[in-house]
């Protein structure tokens, strides 16, 4: 699939506000954000019913850090979902479950995540925005915003996450990688609510790493990279997942060609370098990029992928040593 065909160019003139091809930037604001009714459902069924009833005119609000910035003028009904029972981080027999209303701050500070091998989520979450934003912003909201410059989504994809969605017609589970179709567009249907993220158990001898480069701390990612490396007992590579995010394409890039280089080999310097080059070639930033030129982003993605692979490999090796130590004793 040629991703660059999906990716609309940014059309701008000096002195004018930046306009995306096809729709005007809302900050030019001729129409105000004036919803006329506010609901606060107490159950997920109530929320799904309201969303189905009002369709396009309703928006769910959780943290509000995206809705109250974009302030769309066509919204008439606000469905406040913050009091629904979806704020949790639970360990189950088949892995970890994170409720969609869990705030970034809770993910950042969660001890369970770090202990059970999901520390990359804390590493990624603390790089999003600023502390006051992370105190209210929810993981579900971030995923549904479907921006490739999300910090959390590459980290979740590196862990092979699946998301659960509940609608009027029932419940469905979708792998996170299959969720995004374009900038700001996901397969979430009208009237559906994202309720939970399901993470499989971390395979043994795994190491993860995440890196983000932004202009300032609270900025979106120019480029970010997330990876999980799983070693076998001899130290060869059993599995690797490399995801690149940021302004590098309409959706997250899963660097499959780079991953293929690692099959059952011992990971060395040259493989990592070649993999980083291949991953960078998979990226397709717009020529009209705002946060950095396309050339810069291609260079940056290669460097970041190389660094996260090295970090993750180091951590995987440490985990192998730690497990050998634990097994001996």
């Amino acid at each position: 699939m040629n991703l660059s065909k999906l990716y609309k160019p940014i059309v701008s003139k000096i002195g004018e506000d930046i306009k995306m091809d096809g729709h005007a930037n809302n900050r030019v604001m001729k129409k105000l954000f004036r919803p006329k009714q506010y609901f606060r459902p107490r159950t997920i069924t109530e929320a799904a019913t309201l969303l189905a009833k009002f369709g396009n005119l309703a928006r769910p609000i959780a943290g509000g850090t995206d809705l109250l910035v974009s302030r769309p003028s066509d919204v008439k009904y606000i469905i406040d979902i913050t009091r629904l029972p979806m704020d949790y981080i639970k360990k189950g027999e088949d892995g970890l479950r994170i409720g969609a209303l869990t705030t970034f701050r809770n993910v950042e500070t969660s001890e369970i995540l770090k202990k059970e091998g999901y520390g990359i989520l804390a590493e990624a979450a603390c790089k999003m925005g600023s502390m006051p934003i992370r105190n209210v912003a929810t993981v579900g909201g971030n995923i549904c915003r479907a921006l490739p410059s999300s910090e959390l989504c590459p980290a979740l994809a590196a862990l092979d996450a699946k998301v659960k969605m509940v609608g009027f017609t029932g419940e469905r589970t979708v792998p996170l990688e299959k969720l995004f179709v374009d900038v700001g567009k996901s397969v979430l249907k009208m009237g559906e609510l994202l309720t939970e993220i399901c993470l499989p158990t971390t395979p043994p001898h795994s190491g993860t790493a995440f890196l983000k480069i932004g202009r300032v701390a609270e900025d979106l990612s120019i480029v970010n990279a997330a990876t999980r490396v799983t070693l076998d007992k001899e130290g060869g590579c059993k599995d690797v997942r490399i995801i690149v995010g940021g302004g590098i394409g309409p959706i997250l890039i899963r660097a499959k060609r780079a991953e293929a280089l690692f099959k059952a080999k011992k990971i060395g310097h040259s493989i990592i370098e070649r993999a980083a080059q291949l991953a960078s070639k998979d990226c397709c930033p717009r020529a009209t990029s705002i946060r950095g030129s396309a050339f810069y982003k291609m260079q940056l993605s290669e460097v970041l992928v190389k660094r996260v692979l090295k970090h993750a490999l180091q951590r995987a090796k440490e985990n192998v040593q730690l497990e050998r130590y634990i097994n001996k004793n």
Partner: protein
Amino acid sequence: MHFRELRRMSNLKDILIRIDVNGKAVKLKVKPYQTLLTILRDELELTGAKLGCGTGECGACTVIMDGKAVHSCLILAAQADGRKITTIEGISEGPKLHPLQEAFVKHGAIQCGFCTPGMILTAKAFLDEHEGPPTEKEIKEAFSGNICRCTGYVKILEAVLAVAKSTKKEDEL
């Protein structure tokens, strides 16, 4: 007012909210689109919180909600129902300033003063939450959501470090 505006207003369902602001219980009728910042400034006349960017990037609107620093420009007033809000007006005890306010004055961390309420409340929320003495790096990361155009941040950092040192030392004793 324009006729269309009038008709639109009549369709609006006001929401009754109950919030605790600086220790006082307040009952208000708010519109669905009003933010917490709007009602703090316009209805309750607590003008310490400022409207800077309106998009959650400058931190001039920072208040403390249920113990956590939040950008009040990004919270609908209706969402604040049932919560405990602390604004800059609420951290001093009568004429006696909060240690952070004293430190900001003593260290020269205030120039125009526009960012100051947000800075002090972020500092308060951070120090209250943080266990043990924070490092400079941790303080800087906590302040990534507050922008200052005047001071260059150095004195603000010094003031926060000074308070952190004195309060965290007291905890140990």
